[in-house]
Structures are given as C-alpha cells and as structure tokens.
C-alpha cells in the first residue's frame, strides 16, 4: 500500500504544480470472486483483480479526469498531465466550483466476523449448490435456475489538495438469482438480490434457504391458485420490497442534485423536482424517506464518500415534503450548501458523482396485521417482478410477483400480475399507514456515462395505500 499511497500523494502534488486549482486522486483495488450456477451446473468462476488510480482536477474552472492501471510514477505523471490538459482545454464558459469542506484524515474499515478472503472457494460453491439442491427437492417444475454469488473486497486510498487522506476497506457480499417455475405451460418468474457489507457471516444473516424455498412455494401457489387481479380503485398494502423500490425510484433518484441540475439529462434523465423544489409536497404526512450510507451491514455502507466527505443520514422526503437533495461538492456549490457525502464512483477509473446509498422508507408503528385489518377490498402486493419509471421519475409501474386478494382484512387467494401504474405524488399521497417491519434488498443502481452500476440497498416497511387504481 505504501507505493499506491506515494503515487496518490504524488498525483495530487504534481497536479497542483501543473496548475490545477484543486486535485484529488483515488487508488482503488477490488478483488472479486463471482460464481455462476445455472441449472445446477457451475458454469464458471470469475475472479476480478482490478486496481488503478484515477485523478480528478479542477483547472481554469473545468473538470478533467484521467485514469491508469499502471502503478508507476511515469504513468501517473502521464494521467495528471492528461487531466490538467483536458481540463484547461475545455471550452466551458461557466466556471465549476466546489463547496467548501473540511479536510479529513481517516482510516476506516468494515469488520468481518469471518473474512471473505479466508473462505475457501469450495465453501462458497457449496453454498449455492445447496440452495439449488434444496430448491429441486421441493419437487416443483423449476426448469431455469440461475444463481450468482459474489464477493468484493474494496481497498481505497483517497487524497486531495486540501489535505484529506483517507484509507478504507469495504468487504461486500451479494447474491442474486432468477427462478422460473412452470405449470401446465404457464410460467412464474422472480429475481431477488441480497447484499451485505461485512464478512461471510452475511450468508447466514440472509437466511437464504428459507427465503428461496418460501418464494418457490409462493410461485407454485400462484400458478395453481392465482386468479386475475381485481381492477379499479381499491386499497393496497405493499411489502418491504415494493416500499424499497418506490423509495429508490420515486424519491432517491428525483432528489439527486446533479439530475435536478440537468447533468444527467442525456443518460439517466432529469427530475420532476426543480432546483427550487425543496418543501414541495409529494405525499402524505406519514411519508419519510431516507438515504443513509452509515447503516451497518447494508451493502452501500461507507464512512466517507469518494470526495472525502463524511457520510450522514439524509431525509429526502420528510412528512411528505421534499426535504433535502443528495449532493456532492460540485452540486452543493451551485445550491450554496454543503455536500452531504453522496459522491460515489464504481471504481478508480470513473469520476465520483451524486449517488444514493441505502435508501428506505422510514418504519413507523403498524404491524402487518393492523395494516391489513383496515382493508375492506384490495390487494396485498408482497413483491414485484417488472418495474420501471420515466426519466423525470414521475410515472412508475410495479407489477406484482407475489400478491393476494384481501377482503375485510383477510388474505384470500393469490392474484397474478397486479399492476400499480401511478404518478409519484399519487403513490406517496395515498399512504395512510406505515408498518414497523423492515427489510433491505440490494440493487445495482445505474447512472452516468460510462455507465456506473453501483451497489445500493432498497428497503422499508410494509405500507398501506388508500383508494389507488390497480389492474
């Protein structure tokens, strides 16, 4: 690490000497193991051995970024020269500025009860093979089963020209799977994604076997007993998975300051919230949505962001109103505020931009039974399969995977392909009660060009929505 540290420090100093008014450099090493199990066969094992240095500079009011994976002084000098030259050569007229932040010296790491590096490959393979075996033991027709188990150990060293020097270590674990259950030519499909910051103990914390078996049983039941979902205005209770995706898509994304300012307009889009939209009413007073990088074991846990700013909880929607944007130093300067530590990059070779971390609906006080008790006629949508939302984050769709008809507070038969297709204010304004249960799932959040698919958590409690149109 001494070499990498010297190179980062050199890059920052050299960039300043070359005329950058601000410079930062980030060394990153990612060691990954990914196992692909398809229909019971281990297709392949992918080992990532990624590492390099990225340099971002501000010169003449413009940004330049360059990256290399050759860890020598001449190679680093070359990318500093590149970054300063392309920044100075930019034909930008409006100078970019950064919000003032304190310099930080820190060394943080995520503890691992059982280190990912110490777990033998055989044990990791056995974990997914066992899941597949138990699934097949159910005796259902499950013709397509795809599991991907992966871990990633991320070491970073960050330095900037304001004196920040930060070492960090983040071990992460993730599993996602697709299942296809069939019956009489009809198919039911699901995908799930769980993440963990920490060691191999995360596998036990997920309680995967039970989850997967229960999911397969519910898919089989949907095929056997599922009826057409009722259409019209009715009450809806959604489970944590649906709350989580709504928090991410209909709150987290539209409150990203760079999107609000149009920096992502050509890719991930803009936002229905305008730059002066703080305080805008979005939902009922029961709705609090947070983004918080500091939640232990959530996959997007971090202490300092990729601009060296300390992380903290952000209340994006508070009591149904837009409360705060996610900011990095560049956007915070525009809004004349401080960064709230939302700058993240997927690797050393891309710039850090405004990103969500662990986004969730804040739980309250209702049990699931209490939420359902209030429903005379409606649907309980526990999970979803298809989803999407427009690029200004106003029109969302969530199509049910596991869902049930509810009558007079009692769960009846499964219903298939229930569709919620609502505007963002309609969805959040209909929330009249929020549960005390809570679950996180993991996701890959996509943004930027080149694309950065980044670890994120999505979660929340169950919620009840009144009188919404379903089909």
């Amino acid at each position: 690490m001494e070499l990498e540290q010297d190179l980062v420090d050199f890059a920052v100093d050299y960039a300043r000497r070359k005329g950058a008014t601000y410079a930062e450099a980030r060394f990153e090493r990612q060691e990954q193991e990914n196992f692909f199990l398809k229909n019971g066969v281990l297709d392949a094992l992918y080992l990532g051995q990624d590492r390099g240095i990225g340099v971002k500079v501000l010169a003449n009011g413009s940004l330049g970024f360059a990256a290399t994976n050759t860890l020598t002084k001449p190679a680093v000098r070359e990318i500093v020269d590149d970054s300063v030259r392309i920044a100075k050569g930019s034909r930008r007229k409006t100078p970019i500025t950064f919000a003032q932040e304190e310099s930080i010296t820190a060394n943080w790491s995520v503890p691992e009860e059982k280190k990912l590096a110490d777990v033998p490959v055989e044990e990791k393979i056995q974990e997914i093979r066992e899941l597949d075996k138990q699934l097949m033991a159910l005796g259902f027709k499950i013709p397509a089963r795809y599991f991907q188990l992966g871990d990633n150990r991320i070491v970073k060293y960050f330095g900037n020209s304001e004196g920040s020097r930060i070492h960090s270590y983040s071990p992460r674990l993730r599993i996602f799977y697709y299942l296809t259950v069939m019956q009489d030519g009809e198919a039911e499909q699901t995908h799930r994604n769980y993440g963990w910051s920490g060691g191999w103990e995360g596998v036990r914390a997920w309680d995967l076997t039970n989850r997967i078996l229960e999911e397969a049983k519910s898919m089989d039941r949907s095929l056997r007993e599922g009826k057409k979902s009722p259409e019209g205005k009715m009450d809806l209770v959604v489970g944590p998975q649906v709350s989580g995706i709504a928090a991410h898509e209909s709150c987290g994304h539209p409150t990203e300051a760079d999107r609000v300012l149009g920096r992502e307009a050509s890719q991930a889009g803009k936002s229905f919230i305008s730059p002066d939209g703080l305080g805008m009413k979005i939902g009922s007073e029961h709705v609090n949505v947070c983004d918080d990088p500091t939640i232990e074991h959530a996959i997007a846990y971090y202490v300092t962001d990729d601009e060296g700013v300390r992380a903290r909880r952000r209340y994006l929607y508070k009591e149904g109103r837009v409360n705060e944007f996610l900011q990095n130093r560049e956007t915070a300067s525009y809004f004349q505020t401080r960064s709230n530590g939302a700058a993240r990059a997927v690797n050393y070779n891309v710039e850090a931009i405004v990103r969500m971390a662990n986004t969730f609906v804040e739980p309250k006080d209702h049990s699931l039974e209490e939420l359902l008790e209030g429903v005379r006629f409606g649907v309980y949508m526990k999970s979803f399969m298809e989803w999407n939302i427009d690029d200004k984050r106003y029109n969302a769709k969530y199509a049910g995977r596991e869902a049930y008809f509810v009558e007079n507070g009692v769960i009846k038969h499964p219903v298939r392909n229930t569709v919620i297709e609502l505007t963002t204010p309609t969805f959040w304004s209909a929330v009249d009660a929020v549960g005390k249960d809570f679950e996180f799932e993991a996701g890959f959040c996509g943004k930027s060009d080149p694309g950065q698919a980044l670890d994120a958590s999505l979660g929340g409690p169950s919620m009840r929505l009144r009188n919404v149109y379903l089909r």
């Binding site: 970024f65 697709y178 229905f272």
Partner: protein
C-alpha cells in the same frame, strides 16, 4: 504486449490447463460529457487489461488482470482456484485456430484526434438552431487495441477506433428529442445532424398533452426500434435461453417476427463495434438470426453450440455468447410512406427502462421518452407525455407491418447496448398504458 498474452497462455498450459485464452487490451479512449450547452467534464483513459479464460479439467475460470507486472503469479492463483472449483460438464472447448482474419484498420484521422470540442459544439449548435434551449450528452473517441492468444493456435491483433456522439435536446422538462452520431471514419461523422434531429424532435414535442391508453399503430424511430432489436438479439444468446431469460426457447424454425423482419448479427460489418474475432479467436462474420420472421439460430460459443448440436457462430464472450452488432435488413417503404400510412397513431422516438414481467414469454413494458408524437393522416398533430408501451417482445415483432428503406446506426446508454443498424418501423396494434392519477 503480445509477449504477455503468449506468456499467460504458456504459463497456464505449463500448470496443466487444457484451454487458455488471453486477450491483452489497451484502452486509450477519450470522452467529453456536456450538459446545459457546455462541457461538464473531459475524461481520458490509459489502461492495459488482460482478459483471461482458463480451463483446468473442465473447471472454468475467468479474470481480468490489471497488474501486468507479474502475470505468472496471477495465473498461478487462478489455476489454484480452478482446482478447487467444480467441473462444468457442459464445457466443450474453444475454437481451433489458426484463422485468417479480415484486414481492417482504424481511420488514422480518428487515432490522431486529440480534441473533440468542435464536435460537441456542432451538435449543440444543430440542436439550438432547431429550437432547443438545453442540451446534454457525450462525445466519445473510442480506441482499443487487442492482442489475442489462445492455446488452440490463435494469434490475432485488432486495433479498433471510432467516434460516437449522443445528444439530448430539450425545449422544456417534458419536451425533448434525442440524436445519435456514429462513425468509423472521421469524414462520415456528423454530430450536427444528430443535434438537429434532437432539436427538431424537441420542438415538435412542445406543450405535450397527457396521452391516452389504448392500442395504436406506431412508427418507431430507429433509436427505439433499435431498443427492441437490441433486446431481441440479446435474448437470442444461447446462454439467456438456457438460463430461462429468453422468450426464444424452443422456437428455432418458428415464426418470431413478421415476414418483413430479417435480423443479422455481424461483428465484421462496418459498425463502431466492428471486431475481427470473438473471445475464442473465431473470425467474426455475418449470421442471419431471424430470416423473414423465422428464427434461424441462437448466438453461440463452442460450448453452447455443442449443447445445441450446431456450430459456434463466433459470438463467444469471456463466459457467455454475446452479440457483436445488429443489422436489420431495410424494407422497401420510404420513410414518408411509413408515416403517411398512419391514420391515427403515434410516432415514438426513444425509450428507456425496458423490463420484463416474464422473460420466458416476453411480456414487457418500456417507457417512451423524448418526443411522443400523435399522428393523424400522416401528420404530427400534437405531442403526448406520460405513457408507457406495455406489450410483448415477440408480439411487437410479429406486428411489424413495414420497414423503411434506409438504416441508421444506433447505440445509446444501456437501452441500445451495442450498435444496431435499424430502419424506421411501422407496427400495428401496440399496447399503450398510462399512470392513473
């Protein structure tokens, strides 16, 4: 650098591997991102990566090595881990070389290009001139050089370079258009045209009204039709079929699109992802995947080809088969004829966020973005907003009535993941839904 690739393969064989592939890649790409009509950041990469694929006793491992100073150690680690892994009974080897490859060279004027601002400014100028107020996008000068060695006699080299520009133009938050420019020759690169198209659509899309749900005849602009063909060809990877992530399972020889639809994958064709060989070293060539609506083949590497009792199509990726570049055979309608055929329908210009309720039957929805234009008697009468295309991949492709007689090369941020050469498409009976208030 060629020596490093050879050394990796040699080391793997010394350690007992049966098959080994090493692809040394130099990335020298350069990018300018812009927003609010001016650059926001310029990016430059200088990276060397060895993509390595090894097989030890049918145990398959792959990696991307970034530390090229000690590849022996990396290979030793990889083989050690392979020994702890499990056999893949479906693994059937890699292609046997040596092969002859097409002689292709990148445009030296693209290689010499150091600054892309004039292209960014031309695109922005084109959009503003057509009435746009705001633009955003990316300019890319892609450049990478590959040195491939395999244990089956392949020694190959490929230097690739191209230009790309994507621009979104807006007249307001809800009125926008998108344009794309792609070229493998500097002389053919026309970012201003892309900007003008984006600006023109943004202007047509002014004052949008809430759309109405129903089933409509639609004209798909190349950018959104490219999303459908990209989806279709991606789902034709044999890997997707085997994983239950494709609606094309057991459909070889069956109708999966209308008679006017012929789709080929062609890594050797002129596109910004043109390549001389796949990850096994097989020369790329044209493969018709869907001919006059009938599914002819999936995309294969050597292993999936064996599984399906056929030959590789030269579409090997590091682990799974993948498409290179999509070429849709143009139709025999002019663009004007396509539009004039629409009595009461929609012209959709772009989309994003395509997601499936069921991969095995192809039920999906996708959200049109940028201009959603209501057409009556062949003319744009108003702009719409807030609608969703909710249908089925195969049904949409079966409902293609006509294709225009010219194709354009499209690629865009995830939704059109590789170059798709696509015409305008006239499609009947397409499902449109919208959000409830």
């Amino acid at each position: 650098v060629e020596d490093i690739a050879a050394r990796i393969v040699e080391k793997a064989l010394q350690l007992g591997c049966q098959d080994a592939v090493a692809d040394l890649v130099h990335n020298r790409s350069y990018q300018i991102r812009f927003a609010q009509n001016e650059p926001v950041i310029s990016n430059r990469w200088r990276e060397e990566t060895a993509s390595v694929f090894l097989v030890f006793d049918k145990r398959v491992v792959a990696t991307d090595i970034k530390d090229l100073s000690n590849t022996d150690m990396a290979v030793e680690r990889l083989v050690k881990i392979a020994k702890s892994s499990q056999r893949n009974p479906d693994y059937a080897g890699i292609a046997h070389g040596p092969f002859k490859y097409a002689r292709t060279r990148p445009d030296p004027r693209i290689l010499a290009l150091e600054d892309g601002h004039k292209f960014v400014e031309a695109a922005i100028h084109g959009a503003l001139e057509m009435g746009a107020r705001e633009t955003a996008g990316s300019f890319w000068r892609y450049e990478d050089e590959h040195f491939l060695r395999t244990s089956n006699g392949v020694e190959a080299r490929d230097h690739r370079a191209s230009l790309y520009l994507s621009i979104r133009a807006l007249t307001s938050l809800e009125s926008s258009g998108h344009g794309i420019a792609c070229a493998t020759k500097l002389s053919q690169f026309d970012p201003e045209k892309a900007g003008r198209k984006a600006g023109r659509i943004a202007t047509l899309a002014k004052d949008p009204k809430p759309g109405k749900a129903g089933r409509y005849t639609v004209v798909l602009d190349p950018l959104i039709f490219g999303s459908f063909t990209d989806n279709a060809v991606g789902r034709l990877s044999a890997y997707a079929v085997l994983a239950g992530l494709s609606p094309y399972g057991k459909k070889i020889g069956k109708r999966v699109a209308s008679e006017v639809v012929t789709i080929a994958d062609d890594g050797a064709g002129d596109s910004i992802s043109r390549k001389r060989f796949d990850a096994e070293g097989m020369p790329t060539r044209r493969h018709v995947l869907i001919q006059k609506g009938i599914l002819k083949t999936y995309l294969h590497n050597t292993s999936t080809a064996r599984r399906f009792k056929t030959r590789t199509t030269g579409n090997a990726g590091l682990i799974a088969p993948e498409p290179h570049a999509v070429f849709v055979k143009p139709g025999n309608w002019t663009k004007d004829e396509i539009f004039s055929e629409v009595k009461d329908g929609l012209w959709l210009t772009n989309t994003w966020y395509t997601r499936y309720q069921s991969y095995v039957n192809g039920d999906l929805s996708t959200i049109p973005r940028d201009g959603i234009l209501h057409i009556r008697k062949g003319e744009v009468v108003e702009a719409w907003k807030d609608v969703r295309l909710t249908d089925n991949l195969i049904r949409v492709m079966k409902n293609v009535v006509a294709l225009s007689d010219k194709t354009e090369q499209m690629m865009w941020w995830g939704e059109v993941s590789i170059p798709n050469h696509v015409p305008y498409a006239l499609i009947k009976d397409v499902g449109i839904t919208r959000s409830a208030e």
